[in-house]
């Protein structure tokens, strides 16, 4: 299948600090790709780079979306893509919405930015979107301000605005992290329903391995600006090949097992231990040796399963 999005060797640097350091991946139409990793690993920066929201911090690479390189488009062309063909939702829906504008207006604004329709048509469409994302009494809610809505409701508004122009790709950056667990379940179900019904592809950025386990078709694990492992979801959880992935999976307390066992830990933290050269995980890795002084390439370990580790072959 041809990829909807093909990212090649994406590089982002803030001053001297490389936030994203040569990231490559593809997303197929209708596919949900989970992008996981801990804070500072570059997962949000990757999404912002694709949306061209980083103002010149992108230092290299390409991102072909439906034949066009997003990173090379001129600004008007990018404006035509952003919000229309690729949409994005954020972690904190409370701050992503404008606090002084009624939420209905924020959704109609998203519609009218890309479609030449009258205010009345846009309003009718917003009402329809509110129903689609499961907002009760949508006529009333259109007139509400963000502070009058709960976090879950605000995220539904964000999703309504994001899908207003039927995008082919949605970048969802920790869309449920700020929400309660029962509301998280509602929002994830909603995203899954929309994606199945419309064939919209999703890049789901999260630190929660439970969320990707349920939602993603494939998972890319990031560490310190690089993808260290990428695999179909079932394979990643059944046979993680990179020591970091294994460490992450082991360190998650599980509801269904191991209550009284000491949790296995990954020693140190990203902030205090990043190798200057070679494998960036080496300082925290139980398997590190001399070979790890050279950077390991992201190489196949099984069908569709890639890992960047000299010891995972």
């Amino acid at each position: 299948m041809t990829a909807l999005l093909e990212v090649r060797d994406l590089r982002v640097a803030f001053g001297a600090a490389a936030a994203v350091d040569g990231v490559s991946f593809t997303v197929a139409p209708g596919e949900t790709l989970g992008l996981v990793g801990e804070s500072g690993c570059g997962k949000s920066t990757t999404a912002l780079a694709l949306m061209r929201l980083l103002h010149g911090a992108v230092t290299g690479g390409s991102a072909h979306f439906d034949g066009r390189d997003l990173l090379a488009l001129d600004r008007p062309a990018m404006r035509g893509v952003r919000g229309a063909e690729i949409a994005m939702i954020f972690q904190d829906p409370g701050t992503a919405l404008h606090p002084l504008i009624r939420v209905g207006e924020q959704v109609t604004e998203a519609i009218r930015a890309h479609q030449a329709v009258s205010a009345a048509v846009a309003r009718a469409r917003a009402l329809d979107l509110f129903r689609q994302v499961g907002i009760a009494t949508p006529e009333l809610r259109l007139r509400a301000y963000p502070h009058q809505l709960s976090g879950g409701m605000c995220q539904r508004v964000m999703i309504a605005a994001a899908i207003a122009c039927s995008p082919r790709l949605l970048l969802a950056d920790e869309p449920t992290t700020a929400l309660d667990v029962t509301v998280q379940a509602q929002i994830l179900e909603l995203l899954q329903t929309i994606s199945r019904a419309t064939g919209m592809a999703v890049i789901l950025i999260t630190h929660d391995l439970g969320v990707v386990a349920g939602m993603a078709d494939r998972v890319a694990v990031m560490y310190a600006g690089r993808i260290v492992e990428m695999a179909p979801t079932a394979a990643l959880f059944a046979a993680p090949a990179h020591p970091y992935t294994r460490g992450l999976l082991g360190a998650v307390p599980r509801l269904d097992q191991g209550w009284d066992d000491e949790l296995p830990i990954i020693p140190g933290s990203v902030a205090t231990a990043i190798a200057a050269s070679g494998c960036r995980f080496a300082p925290r890795c139980p398997r590190a040796d001399r070979s790890c002084r050279a950077t390991p390439p992201l190489a196949p370990v099984a069908e569709g399963h890639l890992a960047a580790c000299w010891h995972s072959g």
């Binding site: 309660d180 509301v183 509602q186 630190h207 969320v211 599980r254 509801l255 191991g258 933290s269």
Partner: protein, 345 residues
Amino acid sequence: MSTKLIEAIGLARHYRLGTRVLRALDGVDLAIGRAETLGLVGESGSGKSTLGRTLVGLQPPSRGSVRFDGMDTKGATGAVLRQLRRRRQLVFQDPSGALNPRMTIGATLTEHLRVQGWERAAVRARVPQVLAAAGLSAAHAPRYPHELSGGQRQRAVIARAISTDPDFLVADEPVSALDVSTRAQIINLLRSLQRDRGLGMLFISHDLSVVAHMCSRVAVMYLGRIVELAPREALFAAPLHPYTVALLSAVPLPDPVRERSRNRIILRGEPPDPADPPPGCRFHPRCRLASAICTRVDPPLRWFGPHHAAACHHAGEQAAASAAGGPVRINAGRPAEEGGAGQMR
């Protein structure tokens, strides 16, 4: 000497919002034993933090009382109050906000102990000891919070809390702001403190998986009330309250096979406004078992066994449903222990 370390009796805490009254805590009865860790779970706005803060005496209750070690804490003054503060400590969610950014870790610990009346010489000896107990070293004392990682900052907050040798600790979402790998380190640290120091603990978390690893007994809160209270084995394997069932089924499992084969209960509707709770059972608008009685009569917390209580008119029916393939199959690795150390009603 009572085996109850701390006890909440009919505890209520109300906040005035203009003309309305928000009942953040609305009649909570609860006891925590010595060296027992009670998990407190619930969604935002359910009153978890208010309960924690009221138990350590950061704010007075509007009604009801807190008994600590057999003594009513109300009206304590002078040396008694200082002892109560020494013995009840708090660990916060966000370690960056809980530490003064302009004080070194050592200065923060010193101030904490000096306020408690410790002599300078004793403080100098004490600081490296508590840093070590929290998994830091004396080398961290001259550092400022911004020079530490998130996990190290939380260790510093824990060091401060245990520096006065408390008997009771309220840990309010202590690992929620931390990354996965750091979270495991802090959970292990708290478990070793619990074990080695015989700390009684109220462990507040919205994350049921973390609670399963930290606590022998769990209380579930909904809109200012405790709706279920049980040993963790019973709560996770055979929950009685439909809200607990929904909460458990909503927890994502890091296992694609089980995650995709689960029968997930998605709650309808939004959590209601705590300043305007529904009549009758507060959960009834979102409950799939709700019947006529639930809209009228507020169910009290009833006992369904020596250690298992729930506030639900239909709790029995729910038990039958969970016996026939409950929300989470548990392989806890060890047999369930009923009535373990320090456990009580």
